[in-house]
Symmetry: C2
Subunit: 209 residues, 2 copies
């Protein structure tokens, strides 16, 4: 069966996103600079630049290979309403997924088909149902929990997360949306699977113990 | 001048200590098992076992070398009152420091000299003063901020931390005392200096950027 995995960047103090990060308020508390420090390792990679049509060039090497292999294993994404809402106004028309996305939400809305192969489905009958649909769509490939933090927390609390890939960036946000909170106790168990040491982030991979 | 550094273990969800960890309540929420998962990488090392008189044997190798080199660079420790209070009832008579310890506290108390070279000084005129005394005592060696979280946060907010050594263990506590909170914004800047990939913890070293 396909795996359910998280692949995110995290600030050293545990935040997935800085406080007040919204496309509608680009100057708030300098969130753009924080986001840049969090994502700098990714934005410079050749595969990422190619996928987002940022143009040619970019780094090749083990981090780029990691980005590529992570992207290629994804058969479907699950994301929360907040992440979708931000993306809806900031992703290019050819949204950078090229596959099914389950946007877990309370909103009733018809599927939204984007050029390039991305279709957003709006699921409003719970995380288990969203996962079931994502697994069907993913086939032999894997299901990525794209975020935000609240969605990942829900699946951690269901003990439905097989793997977590965390790019830990050496930046302190001071506030924002924490990845690890609201977890049940005892929580799910993980072990270290692999560590890749990059200059701008440490790429940690955990698998269910 | 000597460096000021942090050397701690951290749960994957960012806690230095599980919730309710106190020697007076050893069964609370299974904190002992969490602490064991956090510290397992250390307790098995030959140098640590020798230093705490746990007996012969133990692992040798790069993690043991790291533990030894960290211990040998310390000229003085600074710790908070909570950490001292716990240690006072749990450390052996020959306390595992063998040097000056500034216990930052509001309590007025005479220095407490232990066999084996540890002397606890009780400093109650602020973190800058505690650091000044620790630097004097450390000489050419370095000052370690031993913890807890609140003490480290105070020095991070003074931008007085030169280096952070974090042993990130793949355990989720769910609650406890977080290392990184109550930080000013913008916070201090760090860069990745070195990563050592151990089986039970990832040894991350950051230096001031």
């Amino acid at each position: 069966m396909s795996k359910v995995f998280v692949s995110i960047a995290l600030s050293l103090d545990g935040y997935m996103a800085p406080d007040g990060m919204t496309m509608r308020n680009p100057g708030f508390r300098n969130w753009g600079a924080k986001w840049g420090a969090l994502m700098g390792w990714l934005i410079s990679q050749q595969y990422f630049r190619e996928n987002l049509k940022f143009g040619p060039g970019g780094e090749t090497g083990p981090v780029n290979d990691l980005v590529r292999s992570t992207a290629e294993r994804i058969g479907a994404n699950i994301m929360g309403k907040r992440m979708f809402d931000q993306g809806e106004i900031s992703w290019p028309e050819d949204a950078p997924f090229h596959m099914l996305v389950d946007a877990a939400t309370n909103e009733k809305r018809e599927p939204w088909v984007r050029p390039g192969g991305t279709t957003f489905y709006f699921v409003n009958d719970g995380p288990e149902r969203a996962l079931e649909l994502a697994r069907q769509a993913a086939g032999a490939r894997d299901v990525r929990l794209a975020g935000g933090a609240d969605v990942i927390q829900q699946y951690l609390n269901l003990d439905a997360v097989d793997e977590m890939e965390i790019a830990l960036a050496p930046v302190l946000f001071g506030s924002g949306r924490r990845l690890f909170e609201n977890l049940r106790d005892p929580g799910p168990k993980f072990r270290i699977d692999r560590v890749l040491d990059g200059p701008n982030a440490t790429h940690l991979r955990y698998v269910r113990a």
